[in-house]
Symmetry: C2
Subunit: 365 residues, 2 copies
């Protein structure tokens, strides 16, 4: 038996063919034909012909960069059981919510969080206007170390750096600063744009879940307005589906023009137990799938998978020291220790990047 | 020239026929035919036939409860100009964001905010367990006044009442309490359920905008978790599209089960200048349409309509003292004074409920 359903999400028409009892196969079609000047019956016929032609042309694996190992099988089996109408664990569209950590889950977080690289670049750009920084901690030690040297900073020092680089401007100005930076900033080891340092298997997963009626939210310790400037383009995740750390803000009318000013005070930290709180505050529905890679995601996975009915938790374990970085229990950035031990007890899937992913970055051949 | 586009939102298939240069006419189709056992070509044909049959059957005014006066014309003209492809002010789907105040804009806020009625009912329900309230302000004066008497309370007193009635339980427990209450609580004057005290013209507007690719967010001074318990059912607005006042929360694991506990402290007040801040924080994109009814919505309308490109602001003016309540500049609840004066200067549409709406509540004949 063949069941077909057609739906449109954004611009491309997607056609989903699902063969009952058989592994899902998903087809994406994008075509554009100007039929406006044709008579109506011809147009209708043309549309149908094109649709079936396209279906015949390309019927592909939705997760081609995932090897056929346990994690891929677990994802496909889970999605199949919650989207098959009549199945005991079927989920209506409103409950198909998946949450993704960003740093280390969707993109590379080594050798330092991308947002820290942004802050350091911003410091350098602002330094000429702030000669006093040359005499003041924590800026002094950064400048003395010279450009491109990693310097250990304490958490309060990092906070001080974040404040001077992330606050004081309007929200529109800040979005512009981030967009300008991310358009050219490059990863120190690979030389690729940071927006190319995203994990190809996770991009496929985001697209696949959305094609199955899921809404995909980012729930990250990163600054929400830092991420929103580029998540639509890079992940297909719109601003209102990005949950993150927030700054306090103030509304002002300047010469008749309303602006929102970013204040140098963090309002909400969306990390660790802040993640379930952020999910509750911004999304308001408990997700059914959660994807993370570090101890900062432990509570998000706990909260997601403790709900009733079918639940799915997954941790990305960074095991590929050649293509990416190998790190876990001892890493200063993205430490995966407590959550790694919690995974088997909770039935969470662990992705071994080296073995379970055939390809890590989109630019690989 | 006839252009057709088909898209699916939730369960019903919607077919939108838009005749260029002519007022939009919107058609909603809901049908269910089991064609699973038919051969594929027959199924395809059946679908097409049903589609065209349904289009022929019902082509209706999308806003039947709005009289053909200026506000309705302004709404339709605005939507037409931002959704017509190729038009100078065409907006891609991602930017079609409309925000709605709730109290007094989507449902009745007189003689008191519904959430205050909830708090008072909750106080009564909790009172037997709190004999100390009989001797303690502000509870003492409420109990002395007796049931169903309106008692003036100051803002700090109201806050105290809100805290004891809205905090101390888990988020799941609170959602259950609200759902139970709203299922039976009735408006003191009409005897209708509060969920029936919603404005029929605004329900039509929400549906119409969504059919045109808009996402409709609620941005209200009300508690976000109070609203989320019923907005999907009543307005078709899912929890993540509800922005409101939030309480501080705490994540706990109780006997192995994670819970989120509501703390007796307000975290964020989504009113007045809090509304643009809430929009920025939760939605992250400046809306293009904003709907309100009081001075609490002034900054939301300012922020929305100060953006570049086509913008739309609307205030509901409560002028019908027979079918609803007539109030504006002097009202303690939902005062409309500064915003009413600001409307003509800013080009905001003002709905005169008595004249511009043919029907106010869904239960009217």
């Amino acid at each position: 038996m063949l069941r077909t359903s057609y739906f449109r999400r954004g611009n491309p028409w997607s056609v989903l063919l699902r063969m009952t009892g058989v592994r899902c196969c998903q087809v994406s079609i994008q075509f554009s034909v100007n039929t406006a000047n044709l008579p109506r019956p011809v147009r209708t016929l043309a549309t149908i012909v094109l649709l079936f032609a396209a279906v015949a042309v390309r019927a592909a694996d939705p997760l081609p960069s995932w090897r056929d190992t346990a994690p891929k099988k677990a994802i496909l089996a889970f999605v199949e059981k919650v989207t098959r109408e009549g199945a005991p664990e079927f989920l209506p569209a409103a409950e198909r919510i998946a949450v993704f950590d960003n740093d280390g889950t969707l993109w590379c977080e080594q050798p330092m969080y991308v947002q820290v690289a942004f802050a350091l670049d911003r410091l350098k750009a602002l330094a000429p206007k702030h000669p006093e920084w040359r005499r003041r901690a924590p800026f002094k030690k950064l400048f003395e170390a010279g450009p491109d040297r990693l310097v250990a900073v304490s958490e309060p020092e990092l906070l001080e750096i974040i404040k001077v680089t992330h606050a004081g401007m309007t929200t529109d100005e800040f979005a512009g600063i981030v967009r300008d930076w991310i358009a050219t900033a490059r990863h120190p080891r690979t030389g690729h744009l940071y927006t190319e340092m995203v994990y190809q298997p996770m991009l496929e997963l985001l697209t696949y879940l959305r094609s199955q009626g899921f809404r995909t939210f980012i729930v990250s310790g990163g600054g929400v307005e830092f991420m929103r400037a580029w998540t639509s383009q890079v992940y297909g995740v719109p601003p209102d589906q990005v949950v993150g750390t927030t700054f306090k803000t103030r509304y002002e009318v300047r010469d008749g023009t309303p602006v929102i000013v970013r204040l140098p005070e963090i309002e909400f930290v969306d990390d660790k137990s802040g993640k379930p709180l952020g999910i509750n505050k911004f999304i308001g529905t408990r997700p059914v799938m959660a994807f993370g890679n570090s101890d900062g995601d432990l509570q998000m996975l706990q909260w997601t998978t403790a709900g009733s009915g079918a639940r799915f938790g997954l941790l990305v374990h960074h095991t590929d020291g050649v293509q990416e970085y190998a790190y876990d229990r001892q890493s200063a950035v993205g430490r995966l220790n407590v959550a790694l031990d919690a995974a088997p007890k909770n039935g969470w899937t662990v992705v071994n990047m080296k073995d379970d992913w055939a390809k890590i970055f989109p630019y690989e051949p």
